[in-house]
């Protein structure tokens, strides 16, 4: 089982890094999504793989504690997933803005066109 998990993480990481190195912003965002899957699974797997042992403790489960999954990596990954979403959204907006300013979605865009009026001043 560990082999499948590890190789899955590896494949996702490789795919993610390849996409991050592409010249278009959308590809980079996709790549970062793949990388965050891989990283989240990686951190999660540091608590080892447990089947059928969700870390829910009840009054009488004191003797079964050793069979439960490690809750700490889970807590770390949970917040990481949510933050990852926020960062993806932010990157997308940057990509959109950059596309609007430069007329293309290359992450190393040539200097933006001076003429495009980006900001409308009337918003209160």
């Amino acid at each position: 089982m560990e082999l499948l998990m590890a190789s899955g993480i590896g494949v996702m990481m490789a795919g993610g890094i390849y996409l991050v190195l592409r010249p278009r912003s959308f590809d980079v965002v996709l790549g970062l999504t793949l990388i965050s899957y891989a990283v989240n699974l990686f951190i999660f797997s540091m608590g080892r793989l447990t089947v059928g042992g969700a870390p829910i403790v009840t009054e009488g489960s004191a003797d079964k504690l050793a069979t439960l999954a490690d809750p700490l990596p889970q807590a770390l990954v949970l917040t990481a997933i949510v933050i990852g979403f926020a960062m993806t959204a932010l990157l997308l907006v940057l990509a959109v803005r950059q596309h609007a300013a430069g007329g293309n979605d290359l992450i190393d865009a040539p200097a933006p066109r001076e003429t495009a009026p980006l900001d409308r001043p009337d918003v209160g």
């Binding site: 499948l4 809750p71 997933i81 933050i83």
Partner: protein
């Protein structure tokens, strides 16, 4: 006693606070009123400062009797108990001498500055800084703990920076301030490192432990490093060669600050530190050579340069450097008697040099210049000031019957009896004699050039005696010079004995403070120095006409400025290079560095797979294999389809589902839920964003680059896979047990993951809600004023166009019906979160997704142009989201603060389990309120971000 100690330390800071309040009072607009107000402010500031310093002085006097009798005053408050560091203060003999110096000269400087400052200077600010400095300096003297000492030390560097740069409009002030801060700040860093090392070698940071561990410290293999770091700290602060160059530049400060900080007290802090740690660090050859040589060079370099300065304060600055070198050299000689002499000279120097600086300030004030080539013959116009300055300068030169003579005699005595090789026995007395002659020469120049030597040349003002009270501080200091010089045994004797006793740790060597010791070698040296110095000055004046020599700033300053310029230029070059190579190359380099850092331990150490015997195929079944295959296929498909974009979204979504199922499989229901919801939200955002981006990427032509990236990506993938595999096969040693056993009894919840998030690691979550909120606000603001047309035209695929044109009536209707149910579900997940999978993040995402669905389905109508929604109306419509975010953060923050009221650390949770009708037992932990805050900020930030992207359509 503890209260008095605290009063002694805190009173100047309290004064500084009041003065800062005074400084921030607005000035009247009308000119005549403004002038009156400024005058009144100067008066008030001086009185407040005097009161603050006076209180400290009274506290010091009240404490002094016991300390002189031999019982140091001590106090200790818990500060960082976890690190074994207390806020300890102690006033022993050494500290008392130093505190007396700080408070006494501080009081005189307060009086002096009252007449020195002009009402249009920011006087309240000046006094506030002066008082803060006094407090910080007292902190150094009183510290009973190395960490407290290091803190106060840094504080003095900072305030010195602000005082040197007090006249911000002057370039030399800004430059001098920067240089002083750089040099003393770097020294402070070295000192902190040294003190930390010292503390860990000695086994504790309080002075008793450290002072008692002298033998351990000196025998420790790290002693040389530790000593070196501490010496760098002390030498930078006390302007010892080769760090001396900042002090002359610091003369850009107002003269009261120069007199106080840069001659009497702050520059003595380094010497005080050496004296404080003398029982621990001294006594080795390393100490002898490093301290004596640094001191000796400083002594000569400073004295030589002082002769050639034309600026009055420049001469005094270099003479200060030289005298500090003398004291350092004495401390380096490893003889208790020399240490006593060092202490004695420290006090003497403070008195005569502070009075000389004040006299220089008076001269500057009355003539309008400090250039000794123009000021001459002041004897006629200001005879009283002249007399005072001449006496002080004579003390500096070591003329008999004055205090400087006594400590110099002790210096000669020690220099002559130094033990060591023949070179040492020759060099030390030679340096002493030469330096003494040079000091006579610069003192002679000061006296001759300022007060005699013909008449003044076109002075900006006509000189006359200063206001009566401006001279009082100088008079008092000069009287001290005289009295100590005439009656040493009666005046300074007991105090010096007390200081020496507590500095050396109890045993004081035999010495006699007397003017007359008979005809002996030190007296001969004194006489030779006086005659030789006078002759030297006369010869230099006649031969070279000192007024025409080049008044060089010195190599140190040039080197510093060059180094700074080079540093800044090279930082710019590196920046420009990184900027120029573009984001892609930056990303590439980042990945390469990460791979290299990950590979390094493999290449250097044993293989990560060594010792693993488990069969790699254990536990694999068909379902798992099927999931793995789907995941890998989805990844590969995403990479291939990325150019086509929309299909790639589908495959990435599928991959997300596989990840989510993986979490389910391996007992992480919370993660599975979160991943699922985030997946939905991400897809929504990406689809919305895709409307404003080209729907296809053009084919990439650079095959070599693709190959290179492929190789890098494969390397990284294999690397991380092997690491993950190797780690998973190792036996786990985790904190799991800790959290699982404590979740219920201490966190009041059965879902350990959620309890960790809202309770055990609540502070992490607290920070993360702020990140979410910030991301939401940034996204919204980035596009708040942007309006764009969706990308159309030939580049658009038919697929996407069809997607856009379809009437979303079905979606809109369903979404509306779904809203109440979904909200209910989110409330359910929120409430049960503490015990079963769920919680604030998950509930927040559910709510956000439902609200987003409303936006998307209504978007076409509600946000389309012509539907009458103005910018302003939309901004109003979205403003509740800002409120939600703010409310969420506020709730989280208040929950955290609430535990303070109960006397627990930030974010400690407590819980009750009330039994309600119908609902049954309801677990109510204060953590639930915190979770509510998380919920609100997640909802607000997510919807705000999405609504922001959604409303872009309006411009179409």
């Amino acid at each position: 006693m503890a209260n008095l100690l605290l009063l002694l330390l805190v009173s100047p800071f309290a004064g500084a606070l009041i003065l800062m309040a005074l400084a921030s009072r607005p000035r009247p607009v009308e000119l005549s009123h403004a002038l009156a107000a400024e005058k009144a402010q100067l008066q008030q500031s001086a009185w407040i400062a005097a009161a603050a310093a006076g209180l400290s002085a009274l506290a010091l006097l009240a404490l002094a009797a016991d300390v002189i009798a031999g019982t140091p005053a001590r106090a200790n408050w818990a500060w960082l108990p976890a690190l074994g560091v207390g806020f300890g203060l102690r006033l022993d003999g050494l500290a008392l001498l130093f505190c007396g110096l700080i408070v006494g000269i501080g009081l005189l400087v307060v009086l002096y500055a009252r007449y020195y400052l002009s009402p249009d200077d920011r006087t309240a600010r000046f006094y506030a800084l002066l008082m803060s400095f006094m407090g910080a300096m007292l902190g150094i003297a009183l510290a009973d703990n190395l960490i407290v000492l290091a803190m106060a030390w840094e504080l003095t560097s900072l305030i010195s920076f602000l005082l040197i740069g007090f006249w911000q409009h002057r370039r030399d002030a800004r430059q001098g301030a920067r240089m002083a801060l750089t040099v003393t700040g770097l020294g402070g860093l070295a000192l902190l490192a040294g003190l930390l090392m010292l503390g860990s070698i000695a086994g504790g940071f309080d002075l008793d432990t450290v002072l008692g561990a002298g033998d351990t410290v000196r025998a420790h293999p790290m002693y040389p490093v530790c000593l070196g770091l501490i010496l760098i700290g002390a030498f930078t602060k006390s302007a010892q060669f080769p760090f001396h160059f900042w002090l002359p530049q610091a003369m850009a400060a107002p003269t009261p600050a120069s007199a106080y900080l840069h001659s009497a007290t702050m520059v003595k802090a380094g010497i005080f530190l050496l004296a404080r740690l003398y029982p621990v660090l001294s006594g080795t050859d390393l100490w002898f050579y490093s301290v004596t040589i640094a001191g000796g060079i400083t002594l000569l370099v400073g004295a030589w340069n002082a002769i050639f300065k034309h600026d009055l304060k420049g001469l005094l600055a270099y003479s200060t450097i030289s005298q500090l070198g003398l004291i350092t050299m004495l401390l380096g000689l490893n003889s208790p008697l020399a240490a006593v002499a060092a202490l004695f000279h420290l006090l003497n120097h403070a008195t005569f040099k502070a009075s000389l600086f004040m006299a220089a300030g008076i001269i500057d004030h009355e003539t309008g210049t400090r250039d000794m080539r123009r000021i001459n013959g002041l004897w006629r116009s200001m005879p009283i000031t002249a007399t005072l300055a001449i006496i002080a300068a004579a003390a500096m030169a070591g003329v008999p019957l004055l205090n400087g003579f006594l400590s110099k005699e002790m210096f000669f005595e020690e220099a002559l009896t130094v033990e060591g090789s023949r070179t040492v026995r020759f060099m030390v007395p030679a340096v002493a004699a030469l330096a003494a002659a040079l000091s006579v020469a610069y003192s002679a120049r000061f006296i001759h050039d300022v007060f005699f030597n013909g008449a003044s040349l076109d002075l900006p003002r006509t000189p006359h005696e200063p206001p009566r009270f401006m001279r009082v501080p100088v008079e008092m200091l000069v009287v001290i010079c005289l009295v100590v010089g005439l009656l040493p045994q009666l005046t300074i004797g007991p105090l010096l004995a007390m200081g020496a006793r507590d500095m050396l740790g109890g045993t004081v060597p035999e010495y006699s403070l007397a003017i007359w010791h008979g005809f002996n070698e030190p007296l001969a040296m004194s006489a030779a120095a006086l005659i030789g110095g006078a002759l030297l000055y006369g010869w230099l004046q006649r031969q070279y006409s000192l007024h025409t020599t080049d008044d060089d700033e010195g190599a140190g300053k040039r080197l510093f400025e060059q180094t700074m310029a080079t540093l800044i230029a090279s930082a710019r070059r590196v920046n420009a290079w990184l900027d120029g190579i573009g984001t892609r190359t930056n990303l590439f380099l980042t990945v390469c560095v990460a791979i290299a850092a990950g590979a390094l331990p493999w290449l250097l150490g044993p293989s990560p797979l060594a010792g693993i015997t488990t069969s790699p195929f254990e536990g694999i079944n068909l379902v798992a294999l099927a999931m793995w295959t789907i995941g890998v296929a989805a990844t590969v498909a995403s990479v291939i389809l990325a150019r086509a974009r929309l299909p790639a979204l589908v495959t990435v979504g599928a991959l997300g589902l596989v990840v989510s199922l993986t979490f389910v499989w391996f007992s992480a229901p919370d993660l599975a839920l979160t991943q699922l919801l985030v997946e939905v939200a991400t897809m929504l955002v990406m689809m919305l964003a895709l409307r404003y981006l080209p729907s296809r990427s053009p084919r990439e032509l650079d095959d070599r680059r693709k190959l290179r990236d492929g190789v890098i990506a494969a390397t990284a993938g294999i690397g991380i896979g092997v690491i993950a595999w190797a780690a998973m096969l190792r036996p786990a040693s985790s904190l799991s047990e800790f959290f699982l056993t404590r979740a219920l009894p201490e966190g009041g919840g059965t879902n350990a993951t959620n309890v960790i998030i809202v309770d055990f690691r609540g502070f992490d979550t607290f920070g993360e809600s702020f990140v979410m909120a910030a991301a939401g606000l940034v996204i919204h603001d980035l596009i708040a004023r942007l309006s764009l047309a969706p990308v159309t035209g030939p580049a658009r695929t038919g697929q996407l166009a069809a997607f856009e044109q379809r009437n979303p009536l079905m979606l809109a209707t369903t979404a509306r019906m779904l809203l109440p149910f979904a909200l209910m579900v989110s409330v359910y997940f929120f409430l049960r979160g503490h015990n079963l999978p769920g919680g604030g993040f998950i509930a927040g995402l559910i709510t956000a997704i439902v609200l987003m669905l409303q936006t998307v389905s209504n978007g076409a109508q509600a946000l389309a142009p012509g539907q009458g929604m103005s910018d302003r109306a939309l901004a109003r419509k979205l403003s509740w989201l800002h409120t939600t975010i703010g409310l969420g953060l506020l709730v989280a923050c208040l929950t955290g603060l609430g535990s303070w009221l109960l006397g627990y650390p930030f974010l400690t949770s407590s819980f009750i389990h009330p039994h309600l009708p119908i609902l049954g037992e309801l677990p109510l932990a204060s953590a639930a309120a915190f979770d509510l805050g998380v919920y609100l900020s997640v909802v607000g930030a997510t919807v705000l971000a999405l609504a922001g992207i959604g409303r872009l359509a309006r411009g179409a």
